[in-house]
Amino acid sequence: MGDRYEPIIVVFACNWCSYAAIDLAGTSRLHYPPNVRVIKVMCSGRVDPQFVLEAFADGADGVIVAGCHPPADCHYQNGNIKALRRFTLFKRILARLGIEKERFRLEWISASEAKKWVEVVNEMVNELRKLGPLKNRVEVRRLVEA
């Protein structure tokens, strides 16, 4: 990747819609930047805000939680609604903790929306390149031991 700063984006993608879309992007040979690290989960309703915090603390510059379109696409009926309730609140908390809004996205991506997936990744990578790394900032916690 050369000397240019490359953000790392952790993606929690649901098995039934979003992960299938990511797969489809691959089999359709769509191109997108290699900055994403995708973690498959069964449902966006299984993604706990704690996982997102852990990802940021461990060096992610951005996080995407991706699931099936509300209201009714969720394989488990309302997991995506649970995700909507959780991350709508959680975004407020992230903002208060100094995490810029560009660093976290809740996205609805159906199994056929490979193109949307590519757009989302492109857009986020561009935004994060402008913001720069989050890592430098989190390291403040270890100041005392140094």
Partner: protein, 334 residues
């Protein structure tokens, strides 16, 4: 055989933790009978040198309460760590930062400006703020006075030294402290990192209102005790008050619930929770019964300070430790 030696030190503390010790009342006599208190700045006049002169590991247990906010605290807890066999983080501040840990939302300059210049009740015509060093004339002599440096943020004890055990609460009840003390003196020590004196059940599990808590909660609004009074005999969460009993360790005796106050989380996270505020947000949000963004935002708007509520005692120990600051801010503080 000589009695076990106990030290008790306070860092950034409100005095409540010391109070919980005094609240042992007549049981204090048993404590004094069972242990020798060798260092306790709140009640006894010993100096740092006295601790320095003790042999390493000669103190059986040091109880340390309050968060680490000053260079002085840092020095003292490192010294006590060296001199002690067992170090116990006592209370919410020492365990996770506690209420003073909420100051990690601001940098040192913002805190000092707020306290010494901006608070509406402060009149500070000459804009005097504390400095680490200052010179004054006393009886014709030029004297240099100094204060310990304020650290860039508040640190829970285990972010600066190795901690063996935790005693939860803000403050821990004297019952919890008594249980913990008995465990420590029994000689049968639990695994390192254990929470002493409280169980592993959630507060809800032990709450007198638990029978009125429905299996499936669906809230259409959130209420605040600032402007409404809860009913006495119904689960506070079911009434719409943010009660953190479902994610908080029990063992406090449901003191707040019995006083008609929702749980604010001072006994800290249940086992398995890696970020208390994150978990609390997850739980509370999932029981808001709306499915549309707009309606959800409206409910969330009704609570002015989410971080203050969900991270009341835990912000400094959270995954991010407080507000993430830009690099140049850090240099300025450091």
């Amino acid at each position: 055989m000589s009695k076990p030696k106990v030290a008790w030190y306070w860092c950034a503390s409100c005095g409540g933790c010391e109070e919980s010790f005094v609240d042992l009342a007549e049981k204090l006599l048993d404590v004094f009978g069972a242990v020798d208190i060798v260092f306790c700045p709140v009640a006894m006049d010993y100096k740092k040198e006295d601790v320095e002169n003790m042999p390493d590991k000669s103190i059986t247990v040091s109880f340390i309460n309050g968060g680490v906010r000053l260079e002085e605290h840092l020095e003292m807890v490192k010294l006590l760590r060296r001199k002690s066999d067992i170090v116990v983080a006592y209370g919410a501040c020492s365990s996770w930062g506690g209420i003073p840990g909420l100051a990690n939302l601001y940098n040192v300059k913002e805190i000092i400006d707020r306290k010494y210049k901006e608070v509406p009740t402060v009149v500070n015509l000459n804009n005097i703020t504390p400095r680490e060093e200052t010179e004054v004339d006393i009886d014709g002599y030029r004297v240099k006075l100094s204060l310990p440096r304020v650290l860039d943020r508040l640190y829970p004890l285990d972010q600066v030294i190795d901690v063996d055990y935790y005693i939860p609460g803000c403050p821990p009840t004297s019952e919890v402290f008594w249980n913990a003390l008995n465990i420590l003196l029994s000689g049968e020590l639990p695994p390192k990192g254990s929470i002493l004196g409280a169980g592993s059940k959630s507060l809800c599990d032990t709450c007198p209102l638990n029978e009125t808590k429905p299996d499936k909660l669906e809230l259409t609004e959130l209420k605040r005790i600032a402007n409404t009074i809860p009913k006495l005999d119904e689960c506070l969460l079911a009434q719409g008050y943010i009660c953190l009993g479902p994610v908080t360790r029990g063992g406090c005796g449901a003191l707040c619930i019995n006083a008609n106050m929702p749980c604010t989380g001072c006994f800290g996270p249940l086992d398995g929770i890696i970020d208390y505020g994150g978990k609390a947000a997850s739980y509370i949000a999932s029981i808001i019964s709306y499915d549309e963004l707009e309606e959800l935002e409206k409910v969330y708007d009704s609570i002015p300070d989410w971080v203050g509520i969900l991270y009341k005692y835990y912000l400094a120990a959270s995954k991010l430790g407080g507000r993430i600051r830009r690099k140049k801010e850090v240099v300025k503080d450091g």
